[in-house]
């Protein structure tokens, strides 16, 4: 990857989207991890540090001290304003709600509540600031659907959504993101001690190669050689089953002029008032 060229393209992509839609400011959630750090570097550069507000949203008891420390270090290094808002009270409300109910998937549901609570906090600050929310999912996560729908995947502009995790690391190195962040094992930190590698079955270095072969080269599961067969099947299954996470709500069409995604192709950036 030509990091300098990709960097220039991303900066222009961010700047023009803001400028042409009359926005100046951005709000970003910082986790102390790779993706949000690289995204923060990019928007600080594209929009100016005075136009960026970062929010650190620890889940006390689950978020590691190291993550918090890295997130704060990054905000200070970029000289961007930041708030710390813990999500525990919000999450507790749902934990209490679930106490008297007998469901098996409470842990999973609470994990999603955590991501969606963070989304609400970010949009709260976005409204206060008159800002857009920066999405920080990368291409590997989007491909696998390793995200909470309307949680961490909800945003106004996705700045590294077309970079594989391994490319995000490469870009991060080009930008001068601290090594401690680049080398950290990726984790959603929704459940204590669970890394992305554990949940997905392999490190991103391996998954990215499988996904690239499937998406970019068009290879079928059977044609993807040199990997554990179960892993390949698992990754491609995740992709297929999570297609819905890459869209907004599916609309049922009954007219010849619907807002169905296959029919309504209006530009967002659009100055035509007629």
């Amino acid at each position: 990857m030509n990091a300098r060229e990709v960097y220039s393209a991303l900066i222009l992509g961010i700047r023009d989207y803001f400028k042409k839609n009359n926005f100046k400011k951005a709000v970003i959630g910082l986790s102390g991890g790779l993706d949000s750090s690289v995204a923060a570097f990019l928007i600080a550069k594209a929009l100016g540090k005075q136009n960026v507000t970062a929010v650190l949203m620890p889940d006390i008891g689950t978020t590691s001290r190291e993550s918090m420390k890295n997130a704060e270090m990054l905000a200070k290094r970029l000289k961007i304003k930041y708030y710390i808002v813990s999500i525990n009270d919000f999450v507790q409300f749902f934990k209490n709600l679930g106490k008297k109910m007998h469901y098996k998937n409470k842990i999973y549901s609470i994990s999603n509540v955590k991501a969606r609570t963070r989304m609400m906090i970010l949009y709260y600050f976005a409204n206060l600031e008159g800002a857009l929310v920066i999405g920080t999912s990368d291409k590997s996560e989007i491909a696998l659907g390793y995200t909470t729908k309307y949680g961490d995947n909800a945003a106004d502009i996705s700045v590294i959504g077309d970079l594989w995790k391994t490319e995000v690391i490469e870009l991060g190195r080009f930008l001068g993101v601290p090594e401690v962040i680049l080398r950290k094992k990726p984790s959603a930190e929704l459940v204590k001690g669970i890394t992305a590698e554990k949940e997905l079955g392999a490190p991103y270095q391996v998954l990215d190669r499988i996904l690239k072969m499937h998406i970019e080269e068009g290879l079928s599961a059977r044609q993807i050689k040199g990997f554990d067969k179960k892993l390949v099947k698992h990754a491609l299954n995740r992709m297929r089953l999570n297609e819905h996470k890459r869209r907004t709500a599916m609309l049922i069409r009954i007219s010849e002029k619907s807002f169905h995604g296959m029919e309504w192709r209006m530009p967002i950036t659009n100055k035509f008032k007629g």
């Binding site: 060229e5 222009l12 989207y17 950036t269 659009n270």
Partner: protein, 235 residues
């Protein structure tokens, strides 16, 4: 002969703003020919705005304004031409308040992010015009990615090709367009003035990097990812 590569960053739907910019550049740039990117009147791509009649009309009216503003300089300007009920991705070649030629894009890309056949009809003519004792071929974006149009223009005596584009960035794309121009050069030995839109539209980034390509290399080029007006001398 001086040709200005007007690598501008138009805003989709801002017909007034884009037109003002084009008229002002025609007026204030010292060159014999000014070349603007594909669909420079409307910005690329207006997508389903093109299904609205008043959008097409306003773009045609804006084109008339640009034509009226011209003096003895030639301008090559991208717009949407409506002929009966069909619309074409077009390049107007204008001078002295008149239309010299209009090129309709022949090769309509319809893959990846492109869906031009949803809106446009394909053209069929390999357009050339004469100016300053030179025969000059005009093509639009995808037209230059295949040998046919340039070959037909050469057969008509073209000594220079002007290509107006709105070519989006992806990894390796800048090398790809240089290779394409190289191939057209090898086949035809005709110099090419390539003018690409710059700027981003809803996450699609247009890289610019407009070039004057001659003798198998880019003799001069605009910067990538920035607006720039570059005047080159073609002898």
């Amino acid at each position: 002969m001086k040709i200005a590569l007007a690598q501008i960053n138009p805003i989709v739907g801002d017909i007034d703003g884009n037109t003002r910019k084009i008229i002002s550049l025609i007026k204030n740039t010292k060159a014999d020919i000014l070349v603007f990117p594909e669909l420079s009147i409307t910005g690329y791509s207006p997508q389903d705005l093109m299904l609205r009649k008043n959008f097409i009309e306003e773009n045609m009216n804006a084109m008339k304004k640009v034509i009226k503003s011209t003096t003895n300089k030639v301008a090559v300007v991208g717009f949407i031409e409506k002929v009966y009920e069909n619309i074409y991705n077009s390049a107007a070649i204008i001078r002295n308040q008149q239309i010299m030629e209009i090129h309709h894009k022949i090769c309509l890309p319809n893959y990846a992010i492109f869906d031009e056949k949803r809106w446009f009809n394909p053209g069929s003519q390999a357009t050339i015009f004469e100016f300053g004792g030179k025969r000059i071929g005009v093509s639009i974006c995808e037209d230059i990615w295949f040998p046919e149009t340039t070959k037909r223009q050469k057969d008509k005596g073209a000594e220079l090709i002007i290509n107006i584009s709105a070519s989006p960035y992806s990894k390796g794309k800048i090398e790809a367009i240089e290779n394409v121009l190289m191939k057209r050069w090898e086949e035809s030995k005709i110099p090419i003035v390539y003018v690409n839109q710059v700027g981003a539209q809803d996450g699609i980034v247009y890289y610019g990097h407009s070039m004057y390509f001659k003798d198998g290399k880019a003799i001069k080029n605009c910067r990538s990812f920035e607006e720039e007006i570059l005047v080159v001398d073609v002898k």
